[in-house]
């Protein structure tokens, strides 16, 4: 319901943090790595879902904002000597600002034109990451600094794990506030009918621009999370395959539903690992597999796994 999320809804977040504090000593490093990957993708996917699932805007610039988050967080530590807890929010805000600026012209476009324009922006950003060698080291890749948080050095999976969980919990809490706000309802109204939204006094363009910027901030935070447990980044990380993966996650899980997106992230985040261990030879077909999953999901379960699992909201009796 609208208003504010009730306190009960924050309980799972506290449980998440508690588990994350206990696990690192008890699980093999590999599982912690998988957990980190999934938590990072969760923030990335929820950010894309705000724009795509809630506001209904088919925009694919998301992966570029993720890149700004990664390079921004790393470079502000390397070049400006800023601590991680300053560099990461600053990089996320930078991603949000770029998202805001991109959104001003992009929100004039609709449907496939918006998709193409934002896709072109993502490709352009990847080109910049490649070409700006003095900053990003180009295709050779950038060795990421080991973030230091109040004296705790990150850069390994067990150390990063609790911090990742706290960041994920914070972003999920923010998402709960966002989606239960009047702004969340305005996004849904625009998704369903721009005419109804405008005739009901909702500023359609402003709402889209802000949704775009908020979505970019999530991607920027996910980029900062990447630097917590990875030691290396090159422009390959921000390619087309990634956006297909994140898109598949939210479509398979269920557009516009937080639990659905998390479900999709968990399933598709683990899939490459399952493939790696069980059918090694098929790994080269990974992106094809995502593509097929995406198409099948759109055809046979447009409301995603979460929509299948949960019965339709109370049907009308007429």
């Amino acid at each position: 319901m609208y208003g504010s999320p009730s306190l009960v809804r924050f309980l799972p977040l506290l449980v998440l943090i508690a588990i994350a504090l206990v696990l690192p000593g008890r699980l093999p490093q590999y599982y912690l790595y998988l957990g980190n990957v999934i938590m990072m993708y969760a923030v990335l996917a929820i950010g894309l879902d705000i724009l795509l699932g809630w506001a209904g805007q088919f925009a694919f610039a998301h992966i570029a904002f993720f890149g700004i988050g990664v390079y921004g967080t790393a470079l502000m530590q390397l070049r400006l000597d800023l601590p991680f807890i300053v560099a990461m929010p600053a990089a996320a805000l930078l991603a949000g600002l770029v998202g805001f600026l991109i959104a001003i012209p992009a929100t004039r476009l609709r449907a496939v034109y918006l998709a193409l324009a934002t896709f072109a922006f993502a490709e352009g950003a990847q080109w910049v990451f490649n070409a700006w060698e003095s900053m990003t080291k180009g295709p050779d890749g950038l060795r990421l600094p080991r973030p230091d948080i109040f004296g705790y050095e990150m850069g390994s999976d067990p150390k990063a794990f609790p911090v990742m969980a706290i960041l994920l919990a914070l972003m999920l809490a923010a998402t709960m506030f966002l989606t239960t706000s009047k702004f969340g309802r305005a996004m849904c109204a625009i998704r369903d009918s721009e005419h109804v939204a405008a005739a009901s006094g909702i500023d359609v363009r402003f709402t889209k621009v802000i949704a775009f910027a908020i979505s970019a901030i999530y991607a920027g935070v996910a980029g900062g999370m990447y630097t917590l447990f990875q030691s290396f980044a090159n422009p390959e990380v921000f390619g087309f395959g990634q956006i297909v993966l994140v898109l598949s996650m939210i479509v398979v899980g269920g557009l516009g539903t937080i639990p659905g997106v998390l479900l999709g992230v968990a399933i598709l985040g683990l899939l490459p690992e399952v493939m790696r261990t069980t059918m090694r030879n098929l790994l080269v077909w990974q992106e094809l597999v995502y593509g097929i999953i995406l198409i099948l999901a759109m055809m046979f379960m447009p409301r995603g796994l979460w929509g299948l699992a949960r019965p339709r909201r109370k049907q009308a009796r007429s």
């Binding site: 504010s4 309802r185 305005a186 849904c188 405008a198």
Partner: protein, 256 residues
Amino acid sequence: MSEPLFALRGVSVRFGGLHALQNFSMEVADGSIHALIGPNGAGKSTVFNCVSRFYTPVAGDIVFEGRSLLAMPPHGIAAAGIARTFQNIELCRSLTVLENVLVGMSPRIPGYFPFTLGFGRRRAERDAVKEADALLERTGLAPLRDAPAESLDFGNQKRLDLARALAIKPRLLLLDEPAAGLRNREIAALDALLVSLAREQRITIVLVEHVMRLVMAVADRITVLNFGQKIAEGTGAEVRDNPKVIEAYLGQGHHA
């Protein structure tokens, strides 16, 4: 007539070479029900879409309470006190009936900023839900409160379209073919509803409608459009006997 509540003055709209509206003027008196009729494609919905600021006229002005609507953005129209329904029912299909009404109340609910914390937002939403529930009660949609709008039957979708528009608390209500597709019994109820909105709640109504029985029963004044131009205006009796109107509806040669 005193200063009209709402007026179009010399409005022209063009789509390429097509003149959707040509130098069209009409004045709507406060508290009246004013019908806008004409054959299909005459430009009736174009008038509404200009008021909603979906189209911008190439000439002319649209004035409401002495202010030009053309100076306002699309989302400013609802805040100014003008609500509308849509000819091919438009709803937020995946939202519930209640949520659709809350969307209609948007300009009146404080707390737009997404991350506003605290009790202010909760109280604002709770008050809004209370008001929306009262409106659903009045429009007979209360039993369907939590059903998604897309699951409603045609009649209830029309009702919801109207409820959403009324949620704006408009001074001026633009209704685009509210009787289309309704059964006789439902049209009778609509007749009574429109009269009560205009007489009791003092909501001025502009009615685009093909169901002449309804138009003749409720309209204080009728404007007739054909090919984007006004061909007649007056009371029901005046318009009905106007040869130009008969010609527009029945074709040339009928009255020759």
